[in-house]
Amino acid sequence: MHPAHTYMSPEQVEEFGRELDAMREEVLASRGERDRRYILRLIGTQRRIGVAGRALIFASILLLPVWGHALAGPWAFGLTLAAGVLALALAKILENMEIAHNVLHAQWDWMKDPAIQSNTWEWNHGCPSDQWMHSHNVVHHTWTNVLGRDRDIGYGMLRVTREQRWHPFYLLQPLNTVLMAVFFEWFIALHDLEINRLLSGKKRWSEARPQWRAIRRKVGLQSLKDALLWPLLGTALAAPFALNGLGPSLLSVFLVVLAANIGANILRNIWTFMIIFCGHFPADVHHFSRASVEGETRAQWYVRQLLGSCNIRGGQLFHVLSGHLSHQIEHHLFPDLPSNRYPELAPRVHALAVRYGLPYNSAPLGRQFGTTLLKLLRFSFPGPSRKAAPA
């Protein structure tokens, strides 16, 4: 039996699906100039913030106390550097979350703008776009929360539901969680390789080799940019002064820029980790067995998306910074509708869920992330009994 039928009769499920289809078509038909302006302005703003971040990091070097001019000093340096790191992190967050994630979902393909197409957009992230589209759009969005099918359940490394069989490896879970948060970009980059299946021999290396080459190239170019080229440019700009015995040493300039770039990447990693882990892991979210979704209809798929996703409540800015993944439920019901439309859909989807007696998992960040962390801690130990699990 499909889990949807624990809540509703088959006819009700289909009617629920028709109501969601109608909502989808309404939004499809109303897409227009307003949406185009939104994404174009956002892309422009994001790029300007990125430039500002790089510029502030360079400017902070001019404020190092060693220069001895009136503006220089530890506070001026520290604040400017922090502002630069934050701006750079913000630019990376906006690009990954609200722009690229949604462009790669083909949310903006309808504009037919050749510069904003899902099949040509390469995102500012270690994971090659086409591999992301496979592991995310195809696997995760089709098989959301289906054990053994959705590889985003614990990302092949963490135990996030009692229905995953316990293994002594999960005792390391608190440490692994921190590692994953800090280096989230690289974990995502390797995600579609399916290292688990490679190790267990279920996937052949010959299949993974072209993927690995693409990952190596992408990760290489991303690292080259942040870990070598930008620090070197800073060093080159400081060189004329250093050669005349002025200003900071070239090594310290290199290290300041390097540290700032790494800091921005890690901030972005932790933020995206938090938002994404709140999507399907908080308390009261549902998981499904492979057998239960066999031959599922589109309406049943809708119900599964609703039961398997969690929203985060927050302000408008928070929604944009989360790439509207704070509207995870709406995103999973309508993955290819423009993200700026999710907030207006949310109350309607919520009301619909209430009408059909379905749960609508929505709470502030503290509750969603808090319960996620508690579950990660609890499930690093064996149990509780899998048999007790509902549905």
Binding site: D21, E25, L28, R31, G32, E33, R34, D35, R36, G44, R47, R48, V51, H105, A106, D109, W110, M111, K112, D113, P114, A115, Q117, S118, N119, E122, W123, N124, M133, H134, N137, V138, H141, T142, K218, L221, Q222, L224, K225, L229, W230, L233, R298, W301, P335, D336
Partner: protein
């Protein structure tokens, strides 16, 4: 005449520098940031700024455009693709450049006539403002006068089909090598003649240029009532038409009549035609199923109106990319080259060439061609 590119020798160094600079902005390019300062500086896409607008007639307008860095000169008679955002969507239409290549200020003009019910032409004629940026393509097309061998042209144009002839005439005048030219132009009436004043002046100043305007409408009439093309008309206006190279541009009816006339005379090779391809396929009401052509795999198949094109492709022995098979992952998306398809989820018809088609949830609506 195209100005010779003079920067060819400096290219390798410049492009190498640019390649290094692009690494700083990976996965974007430096050009994506240059665009923020001035859209004309971008090199990843070509845009043009509207710098002047001039009404030619009550429903046609000349836009003067200043193109971006990647522009190269055109040959008189060539056209460009212009991208126009209407209701958030990017449409592409083709317009002939009406200015001569000899223009010195690096700008060019296109002259657009608002077609009845044409949203794109209406946008360009009524809504575009000075300062707007429009994506444009590079000049293309083989409708131009030969460089070397002198010809005695006969231009036969109608309505906005005058634009390539205008560019050629202006170019010939600028080069001071205007040959013996006859020009038959069809327009609704005398106040509706695009470039009317300039053509009349040209005819007065140059004995070698003979203009025969043919008016086809009474004032205020909606439909053509007179002045249809005929063999007799051609013989009267240009008795030596058999000895001339004919350059024709206008509506399909006129071009078809010309083709027939020249074929009968056995002089088809003297007739050079520029036609604007219709962007919409004529669609029979309620068309269901049809022949599907998969362009890049050079395969054809017959499709039912309720079978997803992905299945059609697979049954034809192809293995196109696909994922969820339910329209959510967009792995199977491809381009519609022609014809129409129907979205099986909501029955929506997709018929504009260049549209993105999800093959797993779209079926053929009449004959269609996909990029697959």
């Amino acid at each position: 005449m195209t100005p010779a590119p003079d920067h060819r020798t400096s290219r390798p160094l410049l492009s190498r520098l640019r390649a290094v600079a692009d690494l700083y902005t990976y996965p974007l390019r430096l050009s994506h940031y240059a665009e923020l300062v001035n859209p004309l500086w971008s090199t990843h896409k070509l845009q043009a700024r509207v710098v002047e607008i001039w009404d030619e007639t009550r429903n046609s307008r000349t836009l003067t455009l200043k193109p971006g860095l990647n522009w190269r000169g055109h040959r008189a008679g060539q056209h460009i693709r212009v991208g126009v955002p209407v209701e958030g969507m990017h449409y592409t239409r083709t317009y002939t450049i009406s200015s001569p290549p000899e223009r010195r200020d690096g700008r060019f003009t296109i002259t657009v006539k608002a077609i009845d019910g044409g949203r794109i032409s209406h946008y360009l004629v009524r809504k575009v403002r000075v300062g707007d940026f429009l994506p444009v393509g590079l000049p293309q097309g083989d409708f131009y006068l030969p460089d070397a061998q002198p010809v005695r042209p006969l231009f036969i144009t109608a309505g906005s089909g005058i634009t390539p002839a205008m560019s050629m005439l202006r170019s010939l005048v600028a080069q001071q090598r205007l040959p013996d030219t006859v020009h038959i132009h069809y327009a609704p009436h005398d106040r509706d003649l695009i470039f009317g004043a300039e053509l009349t002046q040209l005819a007065q100043e140059h004995d070698r240029y003979t203009l025969h305007p043919v008016y086809t409408h009474e004032y205020g009439a909606e439909k053509q009532t007179k002045g249809y093309f005929s063999a007799a008309q051609l013989g009267r206006l240009c008795p030596d038409w058999l000895e001339r190279e004919v350059y024709a541009c206008g509506p399909p009816g006129l071009l078809a009549a010309l083709e027939e006339h020249f074929a009968q005379a056995g002089e088809s090779r003297r007739l050079h035609i520029e036609r604007f391809r219709a962007d919409f396929a004529g669609l029979p009401d309620g068309a269901i199923g049809g022949r599907v052509r998969f362009a890049s795999s050079a395969t054809e198949a017959t499709a039912d109106g309720d079978v997803p094109l992905l299945r059609v492709a697979e049954d034809a022995g192809l293995n196109p990319p696909h994922g969820c098979r339910m329209g959510i992952c967009h792995t199977c998306t491809t381009e519609l080259l022609g014809g129409a398809v129907r979205d099986l989820r909501d029955g929506r018809l997709i018929s504009e060439a260049g549209s993105r088609v999800q093959t797993c949830i779209c079926a053929a609506a009449g004959d269609c061609e996909l990029a697959l």
